[in-house]
């Protein structure tokens, strides 16, 4: 083998140029980069929440703050409602990944069906969050507002920690809820595109995978929000 042939051989390694070293499609790699930056934003929120919680002498007891199931009971059911919300979101993540799987088989009908299921899950989650917010709002929590000193004391907190809890709860779950809402809108767009056969003509369902990544990320963030607001 002469030297020239050897030089040509070097160019076939993944990082030698001329091909995608990650072997992912451009849009998908960009989605990963976006999600990484979004993960940093959410981490900053949650880490600030942790720092606040560490710095305060008291903190509202989550088992006492979140103990209602809207429409069923106002007290005595800690974690149940948020458990339902978590289940809905994990479930919609499953339907999303099933849509991606159907996309690999180029099965338009199944993609459409699973996307519809995912969107329904997203709306159900948003509805639950609206109920949760309105319940806390009726209790007296809001940005810059807390219930009476008596109620706050009953939750095991003081005015400062209750206010910080309230602000951070609405900001962080609000930011997450906004992500869910955007996700639902994007899912609807992709559903319409799948239904009218855009991806069928394109020959692949990579767009479903990309929005799938976003949707799973929203689920991932909720796993952390759930742990730090409701369990710890």
């Amino acid at each position: 083998m002469d030297t020239l042939a050897k030089l040509d051989e070097v160019k076939t390694t993944p990082w030698a140029g001329g091909r995608s070293p990650f072997q992912v499609e451009y849009g998908k790699l960009m989605m990963w980069f976006f999600l990484l930056s979004d993960a940093f934003t959410f981490s900053a929120f949650l880490i600030f929440y942790g720092a606040q919680r560490f710095s305060k002498l008291t903190w509202p007891d989550p088992d006492l703050v979140f103990q209602s199931i809207p429409g069923i009971t106002d007290t005595g059911a800690p974690l149940v409602f948020v458990g339902i919300m978590t289940f809905i979101l994990i479930m919609s993540s499953v339907t999303m990944v099933l849509a991606v799987e159907a996309g690999h088989r180029n099965s338009k009908k199944e993609v459409v069906w699973w996307m519809v299921a995912t969107i329904i899950g997203g709306f159900m989650f948003l509805g639950c969050q609206a109920l949760e917010w309105s319940h806390l709002h009726h209790e007296g929590f809001w940005w810059g507002a807390i219930p009476s000193a008596e109620v706050v004391k009953g939750l095991g907190a003081d005015a400062v920690s209750a206010q910080q809890f309230s602000n951070l709860f609405f900001t962080i779950t609000g930011f997450h809820g906004f992500h869910v809402f955007s996700g639902v809108i994007i899912n609807i767009i992709i559903l319409i595109m799948a239904a009218v056969g855009v991806f069928e003509r394109r020959g692949h369902y990579l767009m479903v995978e990309k929005v799938g990544l976003y949707w799973h990320f929203v689920d991932l963030v909720w796993v952390f929000v759930f742990t730090f607001f409701y369990l710890v």
């Binding site: 091909r19 560490f54 993540s93």
Partner: protein
Amino acid sequence: MSTTENSNIEHAVEHHETMSKGRIWKVFFILLAITVIEFIIALAVPDTILPTAIKNFLYVALTLVKAFYIVAFFMHLKFEKYTLIVGITVSFIFIIFFIILMLTEGDYLNTHMNK
């Protein structure tokens, strides 16, 4: 241009055949089981048996396990190229640094600002 695009797409499709329906449901049941364990720790185990500090440690550990399953299987990262996996996960070193930094700060404020 279009040839490179197509070859990339083919590669991507090639990689994705590892996530079957059975596997999807398996991951779902793992996630569900971990959440149920978290609920049991929170509701059924009194603080006298398991101190709050240990409980909190368990919650965070179980959450990280859940995060692994979502990212590795649902987001398919486990089946991507090794360099991509490393590139994304190593970035989280900044978040770990930030956690240590901010929690130390919070702890300091707890002892010094509340006097």
